[in-house]
């Protein structure tokens, strides 16, 4: 009985196929309509923040620090000599994350990964406190 009830709730596959073919609609969606919908979407979401501006500053700094550490991996270094740390390495007039990057790129520098990371952290701290100079 239960099997019969289940079967009676289905249509034969051939009939389903025929119904689907009969349902095929003929109107063509024109490019004009596609553009209008696209324009509407643009207007609807226009007040949303742009993806590039949406990232907070701290996230950008953190990403730079990760990149700096990654660059550092390719250099040989010893854990001696930190004279260039906490200095205006690139001569820009202020100590910022660019100095960390410049130091990382400079070949033959002697700072360790940990020292460079600490430099970067200090720069971030200075910037957050508005003390970078």
């Amino acid at each position: 009985m239960k099997q019969e009830k289940r079967e009676s709730d289905e249509l034969p596959e051939a009939l389903i196929a025929r119904l689907k073919m009969a349902d095929e609609s003929s109107p063509i969606i024109t490019a004009r309509v596609d553009r209008e919908i696209s324009n509407l979407a643009g207007k609807q979401f226009s007040s949303r923040p742009d993806k590039r501006r949406a990232a907070p500053v701290w996230l950008a700094v953190a990403a730079t620090m990760v990149l700096a550490v990654f660059l550092i991996q390719s250099f040989e270094r010893t854990d001696t000599g930190t004279a260039e740390l906490y200095s205006d390495v690139d001569g820009s007039g202020q100590i910022d994350i660019a100095d960390v990057m410049a130091l990382a790129r400079r070949s033959g520098h002697a700072a360790s990964n940990a020292a460079l990371a600490a430099f970067a952290m200090r720069v971030v701290s200075l910037e957050n406190n508005g003390d970078a100079s």
Binding site: K5, S8, D9, E10, L11, P12, A14, L15, I16, R18, L19, K20, A22, D23, E24, S25, S26, P27, I28, I29, T30, V33, D34, E36, I37, S38, L40, A41, G42, Q44, F45, S46, S47, R48, P49, D50, K51, A54
Partner: protein
């Protein structure tokens, strides 16, 4: 945007709700491309004028757009997106019918009933003749649109048990229909 195209409707809706401008736009475009043909097919069941069908298409997706913030409150899917699109497209088509003075058809169409626009002249009308408009709608949703019974219940805003009993009655009627009973005997 291959990555967005692989996302589910629910994920794309969420991007439209909370994503940045660029992501939300692209997510919506994927949803539109994915479902526009279906909306057209629904509209075509009610309207035979291509321009009016495209009006329904635009109104349906405009409605969807306005659900997203701002100013919308955001869209939460409690059923498949197709279910929502069906309901909106159907109501939009009926509205277009009324606006275009097709009162004769629209008045026959209780919002809960499948319209007479699918006339006996059409192949579907002939195949499903003998069914009431309500039964015809359920058969179409179930076997042409491949909707689950639960989604049909949501689309038609009736209890699941009602959908089941109407479907059962529809198929019983089709078994005795001179146009299609041969399919059951194969």
């Amino acid at each position: 945007m291959p990555q967005l195209q692989q996302r589910s409707d629910a994920e794309l809706v969420e991007q439209c709700n909370t994503g940045s401008r660029d992501v939300a736009e692209k997510a919506f475009e994927v949803l539109y491309a994915r479902h526009k043909d279906y909306v057209v097919s629904v509209a075509y069941r009610y309207l035979r004028d291509a321009d009016l069908v495209l009006d329904v298409l635009q109104e349906t997706f405009t409605y969807l757009l306005k659900r997203f913030p701002p100013p919308g409150d955001g869209l939460t899917l409690d059923a498949k997106l197709q279910t929502l699109l069906y309901t909106v497209a159907k109501n939009s088509a009926l509205s277009v019918l009324r606006k275009n003075n097709r009162a004769d058809v629209a008045s026959e169409c209780d919002p809960d009933e499948f319209p007479a626009a699918d006339t006996p002249d059409s192949e579907i009308g002939q195949l499903l003749s003998g069914l009431s408009p309500t039964q015809r709608e359920i058969v179409v949703l179930r076997f042409i649109d491949d909707m689950s019974l639960a989604d049909i219940a949501k689309a038609l805003d009736v209890p699941l048990g009602t959908v089941k009993s109407r479907l059962h009655a529809s198929i019983s009627a089709l078994r005795n229909s001179p146009y299609v009973k041969a399919y059951f005997n194969k």
